[in-house]
Amino acid sequence: MIETRTLQLTTPKLAAEKLGFFRYGFIADKVLLTNDAAEWHLLTPADFELFLSGGLEAGHPEFDALNAKGFVRSGMNLMDLAQKVRRKRYYVDYGPHLHVMITTLRCNQGCKYCHASRTDMDSVGTDMSPEIVKKGVEQAFQSTSPYICFEYTGGEPTVNMDAIKLSVEYSRELNKKYGKVVDHSVVTNMSWMTVENAEWLIANGVLVCTSLDGPEELHNWNRTWVKSEQNFPSGVNVQEASAYQQVLHWISYFNRRYIETGKDGGLWHVDALMTTTRKTLSQYKELVDLYVSLGIRNIKIRPLNPYGFATKTWRVIGYSMEEYLDFYGKVLDYVLELNAKGVQIQEGTAAIFLKKMLTPDDPNYVDIRNPLGAGTGQVAYNFDGRIFTSDEGRMLAGMGNDFLQIGELGKTSYRDMIGHPTVKALVMSSLLDGLPACHTCWNMPYCGVRPDNNYMECGDLFGQRPNTPKCKEHMGISRMLFERIAADTDGKIMAVFRRWTINRPRDEEPVASSHADAK
């Protein structure tokens, strides 16, 4: 039986001709306004209705701030808005700055969530050859970006240490001609580290980033050894070793040697990344406490990605985005609680969003960017010379789908690489200004979508925003941050958040984690 009902709607009076462009959402009993320049302002519902009606005028306590931020028409400074927009999206002027080099697929760990397609330690055919290394370096220097970061990953990249050394030395030689700012970063599980290699990495200024998933039992459960007859180069027996103890040993070694070699310990220390599995969800305090005890000042909470082995083990290690956000919120509040006690630690993803919200700049984090950085902010060179839009692109290729391949070293020019139709498709499908739901979303100035993830989860690059985990994740995190700002009556939370936005090159989000992979 069909019933007919009537809803009483209260239509707000709207004087659009008095307003600047804005997006809005409802957060913590307030209305949040945002605009193209990433300015934001919180209003009470009553003031919001006054604002919509054009009645929030000079003399009202909120007027000056709304006017300065470009939300009202009368005092709007268009050049100021243009300059703010330009500054926020400066990265569209430049080509890729992040150049991921997969030095080998060989790895001695078989992580339950491994996103890469690792091979066994005797598969030497998956090592990057010296010729490919040099071609990769040459390709990277063609980028129009004045800053280049080489990120070495795998497999376990230090298994092919010769490739890392060649890349660092050859890029140093080439840079005499190009004069770019160049960083090198290795993402290692530390198990194949030797004193000799560690000393070389320290002496050559290569940043070191490792994986540390939490307390020993959790870390070792996530990151198991592959059965092998080989011992570690350090002589430790594989079957008897604890992956966790290996990581702690080398973190301690590097941090000690940075100080002993005269480096600033505040700027030089090992960064660590964690990947969240179902087992992590109940151990948020232990996880944060571990990072604090090791003197690590940045903990970046990361969800699983839909690549590689994680797609097969999801039943055991996976969780819903709602469960993840609940966990994330607990971590965030615990980290804030520690900050209130004077402990210096920040949550890395929050820091990325806060830099977008609280500063005039953008951190240029390639995975939370408009448009996405795949192909335009980063490229990945596979061990065999194939070029992909991102590390995730080669992970997809490892699953048998080369959809995100955009060339081959030695055959594809830089212009053809970044002008590849796939790169254009990724840009189009991640340009938030034109995406349904994003273009009207209050979080749009701070967000970024992942067409590559959409492709994995939905079968097309665009996906449907309300159905994609990344939309829920990014919106959920931004909402938590604004909720805490809205409830911050004494300014203490804001003081902590502002500290997290201070640009301390070696303390902030490690360059090595500028994409969301996990080996």
């Binding site: 009483q8 006054l50 009645g55 050049m79 349904p436």
Partner: protein, 146 residues
């Protein structure tokens, strides 16, 4: 003092116990607002859009999970609220379209007097000239005869 009196409207919907449906007048609820609101429900409901008459759009929402009477009423109320928000967004967007085009052009184009549309038209013109099917750019004199 500015009058901020709000307008009270009635929005009729129907339900058969499994879904809710609205028939909306485009003169009141612009199509972009109707679509925009519906899109935000695709995670919770199957969305069906039809045109029962000129300038009318029917929106049917069928929850993806079992829903009782209260759940359907809540769904209808939430869609109606979102519809109002989308109407505001569409109207603000229309009213500020030229302003946005201006400051976006200033932000991203070197020639500050050129709007994005002008730049695109100039690019298209340039491409057409490049094709030159009448070979206007070819010199009349044959250099080999000179």
């Amino acid at each position: 003092m500015t009058d901020i009196t709000q307008e009270l409207d009635e929005l009729i919907y129907s339900t058969d116990g499994r879904r809710v449906s609205f028939t909306l007048d485009e003169a009141i609820y612009p199509r972009d607002a109707v679509y925009g609101a519906a899109y935000l429900f695709v995670d919770r409901a199957y969305v069906f859009l039809t045109r029962p008459a000129d300038d009318r759009i029917e929106v049917r929402l069928k929850p993806k999970e079992e829903s009782d009477k209260a759940g359907l009423e809540k769904l209808a109320g939430e869609y109606a609220n979102e519809l109002l928000n989308q109407v505001v967004r569409v109207r603000v967007g229309e009213s500020t379209a030229q302003i946005r085009e201006y400051y976006m052009a200033k932000a991203f184009f070197a020639d500050s007097n050129q709007t994005s549309i002008d730049a695109l038209l100039a690019e298209l013109d340039a491409e057409e000239l490049e094709e030159d099917p009448l070979e206007i750019s070819v010199p009349w004199e044959d250099p080999s005869n000179g």
